[in-house]
Symmetry: C2
Subunit: 301 residues, 2 copies
Amino acid sequence: MDHLSNYAKFNEIDTFIFDCDGVLWNVESQVINHANEFVKMLLAAGKRVFLITNNSARTRRHLLEKSHKLGFDVVEENIVSTAWLTAAYFKDVLNHKGKIYLLGGEGLEKEFQMKGLDYIGPGEASYGDIAAGHAGYLSLKLDPEVNAVVVGFDPYINYTKNVLAMSYLNDPSCLFVATNTDLVFPSDGPIKIPGTGSIVSFIAASAGREPTVVGKPSSSPKEILEAVHGKFDCERTMMVGDRLDTDILFGRNCGFKTLLVLTGAHGIADVEERAKKEETKSMVPDFYIESVGHMRDLLKN
Amino acid sequence: MDHLSNYAKFNEIDTFIFDCDGVLWNVESQVINHANEFVKMLLAAGKRVFLITNNSARTRRHLLEKSHKLGFDVVEENIVSTAWLTAAYFKDVLNHKGKIYLLGGEGLEKEFQMKGLDYIGPGEASYGDIAAGHAGYLSLKLDPEVNAVVVGFDPYINYTKNVLAMSYLNDPSCLFVATNTDLVFPSDGPIKIPGTGSIVSFIAASAGREPTVVGKPSSSPKEILEAVHGKFDCERTMMVGDRLDTDILFGRNCGFKTLLVLTGAHGIADVEERAKKEETKSMVPDFYIESVGHMRDLLKN
């Protein structure tokens, strides 16, 4: 790992992919060290820019509004959320026919609507006739048109939803897709918040199957973006992130240049620790820099 | 593995532990090949008998009533359910002080009540103020007296319950106990039913911790029974089951003699498969027999 200022070909990078939380803004939604100004510089210089988040709870439009409020001069096509990625995966990559059993919230549902996908499942679900025991679950009806199960952030996840998901997934031809597998949301204080990954574990454990994962660190975002926006020149693409196990691993999985910023989850000591072990070596970035704001001085006009 | 009829010391066995489903009765709750008569013979011969089930949804008393209906001449002390085992673990093994956050159903709750344990949590839970997003969860209150989380079969499991469980478990001194880790309930037909193990996966994934498991195949049932009923003579104890990965592994983990009956989940071919691989060799039983009923001829009066 080298400091970014030592990278002679930095100006040849033409596509920048930024993680959002801990990179462009902090958990209190405050812009980190003029990151918005740097993104403006990149766009003015004709670079391609993507803001990527594993969050599946919000639509791309919602994240665009947040970006605008924080002074990022981007359009909807610059935003890459797992809610949109998952809808694009089914529509633009798979050209999926059939119904999707969707465990997800409002953001995912709206992206599915906008892509014209056929789905059932979101929203509050009854706990079922608990007193009836197994007989209550056994009387549930499956929809014969369902041929895919999608698991995203679903605040209404419950046992009955798992009965249905597991029953659909018992057919090996039924697709199993997860938006992402982050196990926790970042939070300070005594209350901890489970991530979508824990919901995925709930379903996957029952089904005895592992899903295709759309979000980082899988390389799916690259494949889906290529289906929509055309091929990446990996040598000229840079992934900028604060987490080694999601952002940097994602960049390396895609063959992109990788840059760690020191404004979020991981620091230099974390890199050194990963570098020592064979199984975590692929989380070591090519470069590091103090913050996205510090990149401004390196960009020649 | 040998046929049980070749076991010269079979009459010296003085304690028999039977799994229930697939061993004593089938999924339709019909007695399998006079198993009830054999149990009567054992008791008449002065043997010690336990009926053990990983099911945590029912009380020991409920399972006793079912046993009586099916002609098993047993008393409450002969029944070993994970609901009762878990309550006995906290009361008779740990002599636990403090409050337990209990994710479980009616059976577990009643056993906790009967042991005089202090708990919160069971029953229907609100989905919370979903529209409030993270702020809604962050305003949840933790009970400062809680120092243990128990996960059993909870038909009301939901996301808010996981927020609380994960938050309590963030304190490393908070105990984490699961009744059992069976991933699925046996069922024919298109509807599949997730087991308690899937709920455990949901919580454990968020918490980043693995629980102490009370049920088979862990050896906890032996230790808990010993705290209540006194030591086992392992050489003279036989575990009788139909599943290699729970019943037989449990028996081997405890140092008991193990007997596979061919009336349930696994057969001879399954044993041969396990015998080939180093990591599953510990699931190979000492003996097999066609059914519990077939044991009658071997018992000398």
